[in-house]
């Protein structure tokens, strides 16, 4: 009797401990999930925090008198004259009108450092397009110099070092009050290629490069992936060759991406003599890389088509190929599409293999074809992130936001497709 009671006592005492353990275990799980989700939130918050200013640009709006004597220019259509002309002088004059008294050589130099070094090009381009503007007064919106931009956007952020002189800071403050220096939406970001100056750099070149590369990747890996999946699921005999192919596909799916870069460098560039840094080679490398992903997901989609459908088609006399082409592939298509979109999203974010085939070159022009030198969005982000200029960090973050928007859209599309076209048998 006493024995039993003491046993019950032991159980009761241990029970409390066990329940505590149980609760602790649950908390561990919640903490783990919290850590994972918190890192996601911190990552996004950090990038938005760093990058939202990338979507804003700092401008200098000035009424510039295009004095032909001051510019040493009589005929704006003459290329030779344009190359000798001084387009900076009228800008400085216009600035001096805003800030009277800044006339010494040193002050002129400091004034000149308020606008971007591309400002002269703006005047030159406008004059070439409309020669009749010579000797008139026109309103120009120039890009501010990068240091001015840093000062305007980040004066209260200690992480940014302000490299403007006291005098320049006063001027900028004054001009901001006057409405000469202001901020607006950074349309340059979406209308230009890379540049040495953050204010003039955009991601259009990288976006077009990414699109061209993705197009090549899609055109190669989608049909090939489906064909390979169909072969393995429907036609492949059970033998050593098939086994070998399957093992190969599974291994390729886990090969580090940089190895594919080595392959592209050795085979496409060295062996076949294809040019470096072009969307075709990038697309080929990424296609080989995404192929296993697409094959694996397409196989799963084909497997999900019930055998009864195949049997029914065979029963009315369809050949094996007709069964596959008329019934299995159309029914498996939603699953194949979903897998391919996810594979393409991965390829879109891939950087390492593209570094090796030379897509890190500094390219200003927006690529126009598959054989034009190009860069892609993630590589552009990498280049900007490793740049020492302060202004490029916010551009890199803005680029990341654009890239993530693309990826989330693609993934959402995949989920939507799966939801919409999902079929249960």
């Amino acid at each position: 009797m006493t024995d039993q009671r003491s046993q019950a006592e032991i159980v009761r005492r241990s029970l409390k401990k066990r329940y505590r353990k149980e609760r602790r275990f649950r908390v561990y799980g919640m903490v783990a999930i919290f850590i994972a989700l918190a890192s996601l939130v911190i990552l996004f918050a950090d990038i938005i925090n760093k990058g939202h200013t990338g979507f804003i640009k700092t401008t200098v709006t000035l009424d510039v008198t295009l004095d032909s004597e001051q510019m040493y220019l009589t005929d704006p259509t003459d290329a030779e004259q344009r190359s000798m002309a001084d387009f900076i002088a009228p800008i400085i004059t216009a600035l001096q009108e805003q800030i009277p008294g800044a006339e010494s050589a040193a002050q002129t130099r400091e004034l000149r450092a308020l606008v971007s070094s591309y400002a002269a090009n703006d005047i030159s381009d406008r004059l070439r397009a409309n020669p009749e503007l010579l000797n008139t007064t026109e309103t120009f919106v120039f890009q501010a110099h990068d240091q001015v931009s840093v000062y305007v956007k980040h004066a209260d952020n200690p992480k940014y070092s302000i490299r403007l002189s006291e005098q320049q800071q006063q001027w900028v403050d004054y001009l901001q009050e006057e409405g000469v220096i202001g901020t607006s939406f950074n349309d340059t970001l979406f209308s230009r290629g890379d540049s040495r100056e953050p204010g003039n750099a955009g991601i259009l070149g990288a976006i077009v490069g990414s699109l061209l590369t993705m197009l090549v990747t899609l055109m190669i890996s989608f049909p090939m992936g489906i064909a390979a999946a169909v072969y393995l699921e429907e036609f492949a005999p059970q033998n050593k060759i098939t086994d070998f192919i399957e093992v190969n596909i599974n291994n390729l799916a886990a090969v580090p991406s940089i190895i594919f870069g080595l392959l592209g460098l050795a085979v496409f560039i060295s062996l076949f003599g294809m040019p470096r840094s072009v969307p075709v080679v990038g697309g080929l490398v990424l296609a080989l890389m995404t192929l296993p992903t697409i094959i694996i997901s397409s196989r799963a989609a084909i497997k999900a088509v019930p055998p009864s459908i195949r049997e029914a088609a065979e029963g009315i006399g369809a050949s094996k190929m007709q069964v596959v082409l008329h019934h299995v592939i159309p029914l498996a298509m939603p699953g194949m599409l979903t897998g391919s979109i996810i594979g393409m999203a991965q390829a879109l974010g891939e950087t390492a293999p593209l570094l090796l085939i030379g897509m890190v070159a500094f390219i200003v022009d927006v690529p126009e074809g598959f054989f034009d030198s190009a860069t892609v969005l993630p590589v552009q982000i990498y280049l900007w992130a490793s740049s020492s200029e302060q202004g490029f960090v916010e551009l890199a973050s803005a680029g990341i936001m654009v890239l993530l928007t693309f990826m989330i859209t693609m993934n959402a599309l995949a989920i939507w497709l799966r939801k919409r076209l999902e079929r249960r048998w």
């Binding site: 066990r18 329940y19 353990k21 149980e22 275990f25 649950r26 561990y28 799980g29 919640m30 783990a32 999930i33 994972a36 989700l37 996601l40 990552l43 950090d46 990038i47 760093k50 090939m224 064909a227 169909v230 072969y231 393995l232 036609f235 192919i245 190969n248 596909i249 599974n250 291994n251 390729l252 886990a254 580090p256 940089i258 190895i259 594919f260 080595l262 392959l263 460098l265 050795a266 085979v267 080989l288 192929l291 094959i295 190929m321 950087t351 570094l355 090796l356 890190v360 993630p378 982000i381 990498y382 992130a385 490793s386 960090v393 890199a396 990341i400 890239l403 993530l404 990826m407 993934n411």
Partner: protein
């Protein structure tokens, strides 16, 4: 004609062949009393003609395009006088680029030696001839192929079988591309690696403890040899991967357990895709985060407690990489935990065990092999990851176990050695391929073992 134009030509000829054969098959069927007297539907005769038109022409075009420049270069070099033949592969590529620059007009023919100018003319002539011949050959093959198929539109021939056999071969070849890719990887790293080991002994590569691939331009400079010991790179890689796994394994495993055993269906349905987003974020974004946010934070935090951390530390790269591979660990563990039969859970609970005890004493041991497989896969991912470490871990090959110091990894070195202008055939460039071979072998072994474990374990309950 340009290759692109020829492609367009094939693209135009193919539908013509298709429709011609379609018309002929109907015409052939007419006197017999309709298409049901043909062995195959008109569609198949037409498709066969299209295939005959396109495939041989495409194959010839592809082969031509792939080997054209190599063959022409060979002939150009051979056409030059014997005494100016380039004596090495490096010189040959230099001479060839000079020749093609002259031919393209970007280099004035008067500014180069006479034999180069001559060779440029030869090159231009060859290119013209090659272009013309290619265009003629491709067009001829396309037309002949289509014509052949057109004459073979006969009622007793089963075109469907031909078409289906061709398609089957196409399907097979697509599957075989995976094998070709693997072969391509193996051969491309193998040859360069062997050439590397001609210059640097394999024992030095595997067992030496210093890595400084900088080879000097002049032979008499200090440190002109470069050191190619892979051990510091390997320890760096292992250090970062170990930190990453220390973050990812507990977090991933515990969240998988919570999601599969405790969480409500709705919570699971929202949390799981959110966590999987972590796997979908491009690695360059993680690299950016690690280099610009985490690394400075760690440096400042270390300074506060009186430690000195490098601005690019193994810890920063490892932590962020750990976050990246959480979803790999969690979804793989989730799979294996779900694969454990419910009966085992019920049995344990019926004996009075709490849920956590069931988890720890019954399910976890049962799922362990699968979980280990998943961890190995995550480890292989960490070892092969490039962008995070390129951006956040540094380039100095330190042999250290201190996570606050900067280390470098195998992938970082591959990337930095091959980005930008490379010296032709130098030990420095070739060493990148040797590193690639090493990386390939290590990750391949990890993957094979992991896939074996996962598969073997899964079969137990099936």
């Amino acid at each position: 004609m340009q290759t692109a134009h020829l492609l367009l030509l094939i693209l135009v000829l193919t539908p013509i062949a298709y429709s011609l054969a379609l018309m002929r098959s109907k015409a052939v069927a007419e006197p017999l009393g309709g298409i049901r007297n043909l062995k195959a539907l008109p569609f198949y005769y037409a498709a066969r003609a299209a295939l005959w038109c396109a495939i041989p022409a495409l194959i010839v075009l592809a082969l031509w395009a792939a080997f054209e420049s190599k063959v022409i270069q060979g002939i150009v070099i051979a056409s030059m006088p014997m005494d100016v033949w380039p004596d090495s592969a490096g010189r040959a590529s230099l001479v060839l680029s000079q020749i093609s620059n002259v031919a393209a007009g970007s280099l004035n023919a008067n500014n180069v030696p006479e034999h180069i100018a001559e060779a440029a003319k030869v090159l231009e002539g060859l290119r013209d001839r090659s272009d013309n011949f290619k265009a003629m050959l491709v067009a001829l093959i396309a037309v002949l192929g289509a014509a052949f198929a057109w004459t073979r539109v006969m009622p007793h021939i089963n075109a469907r079988e031909n078409v289906e056999r061709t398609l089957r071969w196409f399907f097979f070849l697509c599957a075989a591309v995976a094998v070709l890719t693997t072969a391509g990887i193996v051969f491309s790293v193998l040859f360069e690696t062997l050439r590397f080991f001609e210059k640097v002994p394999i024992t030095d590569f595997l067992f030496s403890t210093s890595w400084s691939p900088q080879t000097a331009l002049r032979a008499d400079q200090v440190g002109s040899d470069g050191a190619f010991g892979v051990i510091p790179l390997f320890t760096g890689t292992l250090l970062i991967s170990a930190i990453a796994l220390l973050v990812a394994v507990p977090t991933g495993l515990l969240s998988a357990v919570y999601l599969s055993e405790y969480a409500s269906k709705r919570a699971r349905a929202t949390i799981k895709p959110l966590m999987e987003m972590l796997a979908g974020i491009p690695t360059v974004v993680y690299g950016f985060f690690a280099a610009l946010t985490v690394a400075p934070f760690i440096r400042d935090a270390a300074a506060i407690i009186g430690l000195e951390a490098s601005s690019q530390s193994a810890l920063a790269a490892g932590l962020v990489m750990g976050i990246m591979i959480i979803p790999f660990v969690s979804s793989l563990s989730d799979d294996v935990i779900n694969a454990v039969p419910q009966a085992m859970r019920d049995g344990s609970l019926a004996l009075g065990a709490t849920q956590s005890e069931t988890m720890k004493k019954v399910i976890f041991p049962a799922a362990l092999p699968g979980i280990i497989g998943g961890i190995l896969l995550a480890a292989s991912r960490a070892i092969g990851e490039t962008m995070i470490v390129v951006m956040a871990a540094g380039l100095a090959a330190n042999l250290t176990a201190n996570p606050l110091e900067s280390v470098t990894t195998v992938t970082v070195q591959i990337a930095t050695l091959l980005v930008g202008d490379q010296e032709f055939d130098s030990a420095k460039t070739l060493s990148a391929f040797a590193l690639g071979a090493l990386l390939f072998i290590v990750t391949l072994m990890l993957n094979v073992v992991a896939l074996k474990i996962v598969r073997k374990y899964r079969e137990q309950y099936d």
